[in-house]
Amino acid sequence: MLEISGLSKVFNPGTINEKLALDDISLHLKPGDFVTVIGGNGAGKSTLLNCVAGVYRQERGSITLDGQRIDRLSEHRRARYLGRVFQDPLMGTAADMEIQENLALALRRGKVRSLRWGVTGKEKQGFHQQLASLGLGLEERMSVKVRLLSGGQRQALTLLMAILNAPKLLLLDEHTAALDPKTARKVLELSEQFISGLGLTCMMVTHNMRDAIAYGNRLIMMSQGRIILDVNGGDKKKLTVEELIQMFSTKSGEEVMSDRMLLG
């Protein structure tokens, strides 16, 4: 499915601020894998996702998706295979456009855009049903500008846009970190619903260790640009937060994880 091998990324190479963000990362995902990614600040979690998405170009290594090398494709060309939700709820939608216009943009991901009408009546019916599945009442406000939605509503909409045409890989980059706990829970549950319902392969970065254990079938922990822990299936289910903290300090040599990870 997803095959990352020998991936390295350096920021500001050759300057005093040079930082090795990813250090020879190799990772293999099977179809249907739902991997949670945890680690402290600056561990390289988001950089890893952004390298897969094409926001950054890696220095070394390769990324293969379904047998196709994607690491030389530009960001917008990779987008056809990927669904992405960002940490900032404002990042995933166009604020001055209607809910249905945003969905229509997402529906055309990976397709050639022509001078056909941007949203058709038939598509609107489909959007109505799909929005209803979010359970937020957005299906009655389809022609409302996204600007008027709350952070949680926007994030739920971005999630729906990300899974709209069943991407090969779903990338969730701390997509609930900016939401209040109740809304975060709701968006996480929706994510889980879509991922299991559609059988999607997913990488979810999170700061929250409880969520990292509760969701998905595999957990990887990153520190200083490397994967220091990779737990699968049954072993993962038995994990506790205390064990994770213990493993983190022995594996990474760092005393504590960030407060956000412990308290989140």
């Binding site: 960001e75 987008a79 604020a95 456009m97 001078l115 941007g118």
Partner: protein, 301 residues
């Protein structure tokens, strides 16, 4: 007085096509594109050259539009492919166009007096005078362009362009090359500005290499007047408000000139108007803060 107003309306209709171009770059794409100062003159230069050579004035307008597309393409490529900031890209093209325009015209000023322009043909056909034929052609073209833009920005490509001005990150994540959408938008914007330049030059019977100076400010003034006075309920009314804004601007200018303001002060007047209009939200903030603090004091007293 009526003649002055009619003249202002006719000029406003021609400038409204330019305002629609500015709307595309400034509002839809969220780029302050200074190319327009050069591309409006480019359209005038192309038309003057064509008409002096005895060509069909409508063909000249078509060519002016195409030339404007080219100017927008250059700015777009500078900005997207060479990563030069948008403002600077526009300035570079604008400066380059000054030389290009001189080459197109062969001199700094070309007269089309007593030659066949787009308006003389309409005047002859319908038996109306110059001002009326300007209003007819300008009005028909402006409304036609509003209709075409409304359609275009509703299409898949047009939606992607609108979204680019809103949130380029999101647009790339949805598989759109934002370089392409920015380039298309800038081309369309400058095509319209150049077309307007051709229409304006033909109406005043001359093209001047300096005529673009301050055009961006006039465009912005018209745009803001349109938005403030004629609402922004939906996309169609926003486009239409550009027409009304451009006409209102011309009427205001005609009136202040009539009231005795020296024509030399016109650009200063326009610049101050635009500065005030653009800072309007800031004044509103200030007023609200003042009100809140005054209200607070009263409560404490």
């Amino acid at each position: 007085m009526q003649q002055i107003l009619l003249g202002a309306v006719s000029l406003g209709l021609l400038w409204s096509i330019m305002t629609l171009g500015v709307y595309i770059s400034y509002r839809v794409l969220d780029v302050a594109d200074l190319t327009v100062e050069g591309s409006i003159t480019l359209g005038a230069a192309v038309c003057a050259r064509m008409i002096v050579a005895g060509n069909n004035p409508y063909l000249a307008l078509g060519l002016a539009f195409l030339a404007g597309l080219g100017a927008g393409l250059v700015t777009g490529l500078l900005h997207t492919k060479l990563r030069i900031p948008a403002l600077l890209s526009g300035i570079l093209t604008m400066i380059a166009l000054y030389s290009v325009n001189l080459r197109v015209m062969g001199m700094a000023n070309v007269s089309m007096l007593r030659m066949t322009t787009a308006y003389t043909l309409i005047g002859r056909l319908l038996g109306v005078d110059k001002t009326v034929s300007v209003i007819i052609l300008g009005g028909v073209m402006a409304l036609f362009i509003v209709a075409v833009l409304y359609w275009f920005f509703g299409t898949e490509v047009g939606s992607a362009i609108r979204a680019t001005g809103n949130n380029p990150y999101m647009v790339r994540a949805q598989g759109v090359n934002t370089d392409t959408t920015i380039i298309i938008g800038l081309m369309l914007a400058n095509g319209l500005v150049s077309l307007a330049g051709g229409l304006i030059a033909q109406s005043q019977n001359y093209a001047d290499v300096q005529m673009g100076t301050g055009a961006i400010v006039i465009g912005l003034a018209s745009l803001i007047i349109g938005e403030v006075l004629f609402g922004k309920r939906n996309f169609f009314s926003r486009l239409l408000s550009m027409l009304f804004g451009a006409i209102t601007y011309r009427v205001i200018i005609a009136l202040v000139l009539r009231l005795g303001m020296p024509a030399d002060d016109l650009k200063l007047f326009t610049a101050i108007t635009v500065a005030l209009a653009l800072s309007l939200p800031r004044f509103k903030d200030l007023r609200d803060t003042l009100r809140a603090s005054l209200g607070g004091r009263r409560r404490h007293a």
